[in-house]
Amino acid sequence: MRDVAIIGVGMIPFGRRDQDSLIDMLAYASMKALDDAHLGDKAVDAVYVANMGGGILQHQTGIASALVDRLSLLPAAADLVENGPASGASAIKNGVQAIASGYSDVVLVAGGEKMREVTGWRATDFVATLTHPESEYPYGITLPGMAGMFTRLYMEQHGLTAEALVAVAIKNQEMGALNPYAHVEMMITKEGIFDSPHSVVNNPLVADPLRLYDACPVSDGAAAVLMCPLEMARELTEKQPVVVAGFGQATDTHTLQERDDPTDLKAVRLAAQQAFDRAKLKPSDVDVAELHDAFTVLEIAESEHVGFFGKGEGSKAALAGLTRFGGKIPINVSGGLKARGHPVGATGVAQVVEITWQLRHELPKERQVKNAKVGLTVNFGGFGNNVLAFVLRRAS
């Protein structure tokens, strides 16, 4: 097995991009990744595209083939990877496996989604198509609905508080305001979303007990990474390589009701364990993490399940500022899904792009985690029924 290095990354600002098609966005992000690596005329062997909803939202299929043609990367192999909101990390995993196995040398992974083309209702319904088609979807469940029930249970069983959720929301929007790629570049205050009696309108309930500022926005966006064997990285580019030190992936029951303990995010725990084991590292080695905070509660729950904190300690850590920039383990310095946005197919790729910037020490000082050497990403598909984690390491 060969070690795999990330040699180029690219992202376009997330938000509402009315003027761009899905393929436009994927192409812009891919060109940035190719430019970033200064790859020259070295051929790309394979392209993996992460996208969840092109067939539903844009009535477009064959997206990977379309991207390869748009980028003039013919005759590179092209595959679309659809794994719900974890599509991005799944596509990277496929690329890593292709390189590690020796089947491919240079692989481009692009993830993108165009969700603002439809109303918020339709976008929510589109994401809900990942729920169980017989025992969940027909009864009107949505991802916010699931997250609301999960939060209530987490509050009852693990001492999670509304104040801790507010702390995550404020932290991530503060960081998003510093990230030019973020969809939401707006600071919020505790007074405005929690303390003031006016907050009932500013921050209404979305899925009790979750409120508006507990949820990520619906976004358009794309991100891309370019990878090759570590041994080739120095020949191909002068950029600081970042090594995919380990990845993990695990699944859980499709329906929430079949889980022994719905607050146990088993797939997160197992995916992170696998990733750490393969990387021969442990949670305490991580300098910076991008966790899948589609809802604020998930950042706290994931911070416990990956091993940063014990169960029930994540909310205390959030309140104590341990997960803030400059804290013990900075989480979602990009603003996370909460502020950067969550174009579902792009998210897992965007997390890896962000951590790559961190490990290359390329970010402006107000977002750069000092001397970061190891990073973690968690991309959460379904409601935790398909989760991928990556441990990335700055190459020595």
Partner: protein
């Protein structure tokens, strides 16, 4: 333009006396304080400067709302619409949104438009709520007829207030109006209508001193919010 007051007496619709809307202040999600207050015909030229760029924003029906609001404000300035009122939202004096409406009869209000310039802070929701507050609580009306021109408006007004559908054609294009009754208003008030009164003198003074309009590109950027390239 010379005004022939003899003709004006014929051309102008009769006006009913309207109770004033007492200003209030709302703390927004970002901690900034928005003053909501009633403006007068003398303020219309300033308002039109802000509305004008929206006529050309083909997004979320801003162009439709902008064009209609522009004409309604102009008609109000020249006394060509009956019993209209306009409320504005200001942060540090800067105009961030406006709503207009009118008394159709003594008992029925006809909601016209809601325009938010600064988006993402629920300014439109706050201003719409203020408009309903004025109709029901200060003008003492029994009901308000409402239509939405955008899906966002539909979600904000029809869904959040649980408005009653009717077959009454609304004067904005004839779409069947939805109705806010006093009962619905007071049921919704705890979760949708907020604000503190009186507005502290220093805040009100800043708001009343000048209606500051952002420049045209800023207005477009705030509304369109397009990213990238």
């Amino acid at each position: 333009m010379a005004i022939d007051m003899e003709l004006e007496a014929v051309l102008r619709p009769p006006e009913a006396p309207q109770a004033p809307y007492p200003a209030k202040v709302i703390t927004l999600a970002n901690g900034k304080r928005m003053v909501v207050r009633e403006v007068t015909r003398a303020d219309v030229p300033k308002l039109l400067r802000v509305v004008h760029p929206t006529l050309f924003i083909d997004k979320d029906y801003y162009n439709v709302v902008g064009a209609r609001l522009y004409s309604e404000l102009l008609a109000w300035q020249y006394y060509r619409v009956q019993n209209e009122f306009c409320l504005v939202g200001q942060i540090d004096g800067i105009l961030v949104g406006m709503v207009n409406s009118r008394m159709y009869t003594a008992e029925t209000g006809m909601s016209l438009h809601t325009l938010a310039i600064d988006r993402g802070l629920r300014i439109g929701a706050h201003l719409f709520a203020a408009k309903m507050e004025h109709h029901i609580e200060f003008l003492g009306q029994k009901e308000v007829l409402i239509v939405a021109e955008s899906p966002i408006g539909f979600r904000r007004w029809m869904t959040e207030y649980g408005l009653e559908p009717t077959t009454i054609p609304h004067e904005l294009g004839g779409a069947p109006a939805y109705r806010l009754t006093r009962q619905l208003y007071f049921d919704s008030k705890p979760r949708l209508v907020v604000g503190d009164r009186p507005v502290p003198d220093e805040l009100l003074a800043v708001a009343e001193q000048e209606l500051i309009a952002a420049d045209e590109s800023m207005i477009r950027e705030k509304i369109a919010g397009l990213k990238g390239r």
